[in-house]
Symmetry: C2
Subunit: 160 residues, 2 copies
Amino acid sequence: MDAPPRSLDERLRDTAALLSATGADTWVATASAAGEAYLVPLSFGWTGEAVVLVTERRSPTARNLIAKRGARLAFGGTRDVVMVDGELAGEPAAVPDADAELVEVFVTQSGWDPRPMGDAADYDVFAVRPVGVQAWREGNEIAGRTLMRDGEWLGPVDVR
Amino acid sequence: MDAPPRSLDERLRDTAALLSATGADTWVATASAAGEAYLVPLSFGWTGEAVVLVTERRSPTARNLIAKRGARLAFGGTRDVVMVDGELAGEPAAVPDADAELVEVFVTQSGWDPRPMGDAADYDVFAVRPVGVQAWREGNEIAGRTLMRDGEWLGPVDVR
């Protein structure tokens, strides 16, 4: 609680860094058609406009993303967190059929390449576009935590 | 990916340690009555039978817990994770009215005491009992990740 709260600009910069971090995971919370919460950590990529996820089509996360077209994602740690409310952008596609640029962003940033896998066709590529973003560290950063509202960043941010 | 997968006993021991860790947070995923996923990090305590959470009654997490009586919790990091599917045990109560033992477990373990707060009555205490638990580190630990099924630990575990 000792560090002073970061400015909007600092939070935007730190958020861009977390979204662009290599070899990291994001916590992906989704809800099922029946309304049950699901949560799992996944590798990710960041195109500057969307978070790219790759997961098995039969997994709860894939099913929920398709059913609800939304997810809430957490980046960073519990005391240096970026929370993203996101909407599914476009339609998911199997790894071999997916937009090559999306897959390339994912592979380069995550360090995991699903393309050579024998069952790559069982994995879907999802693009999740942020519509709301918040960032905070400790209690003194709850005020001012909103960085994006209704899909609009509240300040300039170099997201790549 | 290099470390060999842990045995069931090792995972049970490590899980007990994560659930009993002091000053840590858990990721709490809930679903709203409308079926939207919510996710937030919260301080916690562990009684040996239930995870104790304290949060504002008007927060989405509190509302969702009350509406759905369930949550999915993550403990540890994305590559050393314990996932808990939990059910709300009993009824939540405002901090000043809550079971003193639950509150004591929470305060001692989390290091945060909500009782002296001027608005303590606006915070509810929740007990979330695990019904399913999984623990894994890397891909080679996906097999054997289930530690509790239908509320029963699959091996002896010293949970306190």
